[in-house]
Amino acid sequence: MAETMVRLRGIHKRFGELEVLKGVDLDVGRGEVVCVLGPSGSGKSTLLRCVNLLEPPERGEIFLEGHDICKGPNSGTGEQSWELNFVRQRVGIVFQQFNLFPHRTALQNVTMAPEKVLGRSRAEARAKASELLERVGLGDKVDQYPERLSGGQQQRVAIARALAMDPHVMLFDEVTSALDPELVKEVLDTMRELASEGMTMIVVTHELGFAREVADRVVFMDGGVIVEQGPPAQVLDEPREERTKRFLGLVLDR
């Protein structure tokens, strides 16, 4: 059985009065690609951001490669009780808004963390960064500033930037939602390739086509809980739950 990379148990999260996650359990195995779908407000982004502790949960447990990274969340929500360093160097994330560093070139965006956090030498970091940017198809853009790149190109730089840290898990938070339609494909292609290389990925997305082709498992969330999950063919074509049917009906009718 494939090792469980990420295990979430009983995740609860609230923002002020609003409870956004109402008890979520999820396992993701090594090399698995899990796509998370659901309407806005369903908590899917929040769940993703729990995995790298950007949004620490109030209650629940998170295991990363078997390590408990929460250390008893009930005892407090101070950052010191979380194994942040362990987490953030093993989990990469790509954001909907790209969040590239505008005051740095594409290459520098990719080398910054390896140099500052992993202590790699400048030469080493640059070599790796160039290679990664080549891989995502931007070898000729290494010295460009983000403002000169299209949305799709920026997002691919963001992927390269996350990969530079040699993560074991990659999180994708609606990474194509902010893109013009003609730029979406290039990013999905990059992600597809990443999946085929065996990366463990959790992808929050609206791209059903991508989910169908690339995902090993599709998870449907609504109202802070997982409604159903299973192989893409099952969830997308023969959903069992009413809510799933309704959501898919709405999405497909677009």
């Binding site: 950007l54 101070g78 990469g92 808004q97 963390a113 403002e147 920026q154």
Partner: protein
């Protein structure tokens, strides 16, 4: 009407007292320079303290915010009067510090400098904060997600971007500071307003005040123009889909 001109625009009078008033005006510039340096540093310290993350640092953040609120609220004149009126009575402080005559400057100079520094430290802290908060939150998130510590993220990602947002409003604060240096006149320090009023008392003519005003205008107008240019340049950047705006 001609009486009005004689009172305020007696150029002969201005000529006679030109160097006297200029020398006094340089005292304002001196106060400004000393306080500007101190307040820029102190304000940065305050701004950074205010940013310290996590529950552990809550008391520090609270104190910092309380300090900033306090000195934004109390009129500068009152601060000056309280310090110069009260500090000398704090017997437990040694006299050299309580009634300072450092570097040849009399105690009202130093009371004024301290008062202005306390207040403008709060103002500059707010400018730094606006700069830091003007950087989109996603930048910090991205940096932290890559494994950078809070300080690494600040130093490498947030502050370099905040720095471009700071000069224009900061220069505005400095302009206010230069004008507020005149407040030290109430505790009898010989800067330009005090000297002008002295001349007024002696000769019943206000032209020295007008001359003082002219000096201020000559220095401040160019500064104000620079502010305008900086603001326009940032706007231009944003309009052209800049560097500053991340998609």
């Amino acid at each position: 009407m001609s009486e009005f001109f004689h009172q305020y625009f007696d150029f002969n009078y201005m000529g006679e007292h030109f160097w006297e008033v200029l020398e006094a005006f340089l005292q304002n510039v001196l106060i400004f320079t000393v306080v500007a340096v101190l307040a820029l540093i102190w304000g940065l310290v305050l701004a950074l303290l205010r940013q310290l993350p996590g529950k552990k640092f809550l008391p520090i953040r609270f104190l910092t915010i309380a300090y900033i609120d306090l000195f934004r609220a109390i009129p500068i004149l009152i601060v000056i009067l309280l310090i110069s009126g009260g500090v000398p009575f704090l017997e437990f402080i040694p006299k050299e510090i309580r009634i300072p005559h450092w570097l040849g400057k009399p105690d009202p100079f130093w009371y004024g400098v301290v008062a202005l520094m306390l207040v403008y430290g709060a103002f500059t802290a707010e400018v730094y904060r606006a700069g830091i908060e003007g950087v989109p939150g996603g930048q910090m998130e991205a940096a932290r997600s890559l494994g950078m510590s809070h300080w690494q993220a600040m130093r490498n990602v947030v502050v370099p971007q905040a720095v471009t947002l700071i000069p224009a409003p900061m220069l505005n604060e400095l302009i206010s500071l230069l004008k507020d240096s005149t407040l030290v006149s109430v505790i009898a320090f010989g800067e330009s307003v005090l000297i002008s009023r002295e001349l007024l008392a002696q000769s019943f003519n206000s032209s020295a005040l007008t001359l003082t005003a002219i000096f201020f205008i000559l220095i401040i107008l160019p500064m104000a123009r620079i502010v305008d240019k900086l603001i326009a340049r940032n706007q231009g950047r944003i309009a052209r889909g800049s560097h500053m705006e991340v998609a």
